[in-house]
């Protein structure tokens, strides 16, 4: 955004910084109401907010996105959810995937671990999660975002951090509700949920379904840098179903996601043989778990969890269409695992958490592909691809020692023994200070990402790949000014070794462990909430370089977000949020600009909510309020990606039995 007038930005900041009021009880109570009785008994009352305080005790920087924020801001995709947080940048190709870079390292979505109710949703074959709209966000209780390496507890892929999506519990949200949303680019988002809980029988269940469809943006012709024709096709259809059953100490959970998205934006159609319609990337995710929580006594708890995951690129996928053919893809993968977690609070000073985990997975070694002989003929159904069976045995242990008032020492490790990548030992340690107002954390953590079949076999293939390894140091300070006013700053130094890079040769390309990426970063955050007004702001500085000190492309040094919500009455509120992303170097030369730069962007979003009107809630969202023209970087033939124009959406929600939407 070259024409950004920074004076406006400063005015916003001044307005933001001067707004203070007295906090009502209601927000704090709503947070407490979400806790179980046993959790409530562990809430320390010396500080104000359960959320802020609990996060202050964790040996990592953690942000929580509440269900209220998700609904109020009208987030439709996982990228949307993360867009107002510090430390995130994006490469949204406005197609079958969106790439999310946490703390300054570009990647194929395989450096951050995404979990739904603790079960990974990263695709099994590549280790990369899918950004996009297939997440049933209406059924989300909260999303916890952990910054920094976490392999010491979670194993592979938890290099830059973790995103844990926690779905609603039937016990806490009994009732039925439904919503429908319609808006620009033929976007439809429909949801329905029903949850029931019987206190006497200690039994309950919940089911929630979602359908979304959207054409995302106007990318035809000039609007899309002339990469595609005016009649290009670019759709995404998503279906999701979540189910949960509670009985006594057992929880059964099921998540199904079906994503069908055009692959048009992967390629340029103008001047090439590729056509910009007819492709469809069809992928299904299915996860299920059965968990048993057993309290041996107040201090000793055992959790048993058996889980399974299926992530399959379906055999009706059309990867691309050219003037002479259609390409069919098929790639099935599944995994089954079992985990035992023991949590032992020996006394008020010393506690342990330890776990044993075993996983067995069957993965395709690559895509099974077929081709038709014309642009209008579907390819034959691809045959079963060659598969490999892998196993993983892991154990981990973490201790927490309160050695002096307000000081906690954390130390832990995880040991993984894989049939593919052998043994990996991952330690971490931290010192955490927390008093009523001030918190400080000194953290060291390491992490790894094991190569997956997609890495070993893509392009020319390379079977000698090693795990990527991360080491990280972090120091953070937080300060609670009052029960709902909070500020924090984090400094971190991350180093990714044995980094997987694409190596190009005359015969083709392959992945190899080449060099390092080093990131020095600072993140600032502050928030305040009162009866009427809620405000937040954050700023991120990232200095990301390779080991030869060249700047890492696709990472801006500066990014910032701030927002405000004002409740005019109990029923009517307005939200205004803003995202700034600084200049980024593009991996490839951009013909339309004559350089390798993607300019900075300042994008604003406005939303209105009119709630509790005879059981109905009405919401209006205006995304990209000022219709700013802005782009994301690209490592594909389209040399940069135009982002959506102004998008107006209208939503109606109906709560049949409950106000807990």
């Amino acid at each position: 955004m070259n024409d950004l007038d920074y004076r406006h930005f400063i005015i916003f900041l001044i307005l933001f910084s001067t707004a203070t009021t007295i906090k009502a009880q209601s927000d704090n109570i709503k947070e407490l109401m979400d806790l179980s009785l046993s959790d409530l008994l562990n809430v320390e009352i010396v500080t104000a907010s359960k959320k802020l305080q609990k996060l202050g005790d964790v040996p990592a920087t953690v942000k929580v996105i509440s269900k209220e924020k998700i609904i109020q801001n009208g987030y439709l995709t996982l990228e949307d959810v993360l867009s107002d947080l510090q430390g995130f940048q994006f490469r949204n190709i406005q197609g079958f995937n969106s790439y999310i870079f946490q703390r300054g390292i570009p990647n194929q979505n395989n450096l951050t671990l995404v979990l739904i109710d603790g079960i990974q949703i990263n695709e099994l074959n590549s280790g990369g999660f899918y950004g996009g709209a297939q997440y049933n966000l209406e059924n989300v209780e909260r999303i916890e975002v952990v910054y920094g390496p976490a392999s010491a507890l979670y194993g592979t892929n938890a290099i830059s951090g973790i995103i844990n999506i926690i779905t609603k519990n039937p016990k806490d949200y009994p009732g039925a509700n439904a919503s429908i949303e319609y808006g620009a680019f033929n976007t439809v988002n429909a949801n329905a949920s029903y949850r029931y809980f019987d206190e006497e029988d200690n039994f309950g269940f919940g089911i929630s379904g979602m359908f979304k469809t959207t054409e995302k943006a106007d990318l035809g012709g000039k609007e899309g840098d002339n990469n595609w024709t005016e009649n290009m096709e670019n759709f995404e259809d998503d279906l999701a179903v979540d189910a949960k059953i509670l009985y006594e100490e057992f929880t059964f959970g099921l998540t199904f996601q079906s994503k069908k998205a055009s692959r048009t934006t992967n390629y340029k159609s103008t001047g090439t043989l590729y056509l910009d319609h007819g492709s469809s990337w069809n992928i299904n995710f299915l996860t299920g778990f059965l968990k048993h929580d057993y309290s041996i006594d107040e201090r000793l708890k055992l959790t048993s969890n058996i889980y399974c995951i299926d992530a399959t690129v379906l055999d009706n996928t059309i990867g691309y269409v050219t003037t002479t053919s259609q390409a069919g893809y098929y790639r099935p993968n599944n995994l089954i695992g079992i985990e035992e977690i023991l949590s032992w609070e020996i006394n008020n000073q010393l506690s342990f958490i330890g776990g044993l985990e075993y996983e067995s997975e069957t993965l395709a070694t690559g895509f099974s592909q077929t081709y038709s002989s014309s642009a209008t003929t579907a390819p034959a159904v691809p045959p079963e691809p060659e598969k490999q069976n892998n196993s993983l045995f892991s154990f981990y242990l973490q201790s927490q020692f309160k050695f002096y008032t307000n000081f906690n020492l954390f130390a832990g490790f995880r040991f993984d023994n894989s049939s593919v990548y052998d043994q990996v030992f991952t330690p971490r340690a931290g010192l955490v200070y927390k008093d009523e107002k001030l918190g400080a954390k000194f953290l060291y953590a390491s992490a790894f990402r094991a190569p997956k079949p997609w890495d070993y076999n893509s392009g020319l293939g390379n079977l000698n790949l090693e795990s990527e390894k991360m080491s990280s140091f972090e120091f953070s300070l937080s300060y609670s000014l009052s029960k709902n006013s909070y500020a924090e700053i984090s400094f971190y130094k991350n180093s990714l070794h044995e980094k997987l890079s694409q190596v190009n040769t005359n015969n083709g390309w392959y992945w190899d462990n080449v060099g390092e990426t080093n990131v020095d970063g600072v993140e600032l955050f502050a928030e305040h909430a009162s009866d009427k007004l809620k405000i937040y702001g954050n700023y991120t500085y990232n200095y990301a370089v390779f080991d030869d000190n060249t700047i890492v492309p696709e990472i801006a040094k500066h990014s910032a977000n701030f927002g405000v919500r004002y409740n005019f009455t109990d029923q009517f509120s307005i939200g205004f949020r803003n995202n700034y992303l600084g200049r980024r170097e593009n991996p490839v030369y951009i013909e339309s600009t004559g350089d390798k730069q993607v300019g900075p962007a300042f994008v604003s979003h406005l939303n209105f909510a009119f709630i509790n009107v005879a059981g109905f809630n009405f919401r209006l969202f205006v995304n990209n309020l000022f219709d700013t023209e802005f782009y994301h970087t690209s490592n594909r033939p389209p040399q940069r990606y135009r982002q959506p124009q102004r998008m107006v959406l209208f939503k109606i929600e109906y709560n049949l039995f409950s106000n807990n939407f």
Binding site: Q25, I45, L481, G537
Partner: protein, 177 residues
Amino acid sequence: MLRLRYFVPVLILFFLGYVSEIKSQEGNTEANVKAVLVYKFTKFLHWPENADRDTFKIGVLGDAEIASALKIITHEQLIKKKPAKIEELNPSTPLKSYNIIFLSQKSTMDIKNVLQKIQGEPVLLIGDKEGFGEKGAGINLIKQDGKIKFEINLSSLRENGIESNTQFINLASVLYD
């Protein structure tokens, strides 16, 4: 274009200004935690049929903050599938018509008088003072290591006809019988 030399100082000033400007406020989270606990307790307890009324009534003696927090909670939540009514009481108020009486440590009323007023009635007395559990409050809130824990007096619950389950009893720090 937003230049670094403006952007970073402004942000730092903003955060410093923000930090210094907001006045520290006295927290009432303790009242919130106690009020939410009172609400959560009702999910584990059963009152006899003769306590069945159109509304679930909670009387609070000596703590306006707890009463205020309970009002916020019950504004949106039913208790035992009924709307709840929260009232701040004075020592002369009859107590038999309530499902729960919350007796704060700030109250001038003696626990013996309260117990006398609810004797044999389907009324749960929740105390909020060290020693109230032993003296006969069915449930008593106590502070330990900066956290709120609770005691259960099983014989008092029985005398008032209130049933609890094992899951709930296991969460209590102290049991009296």
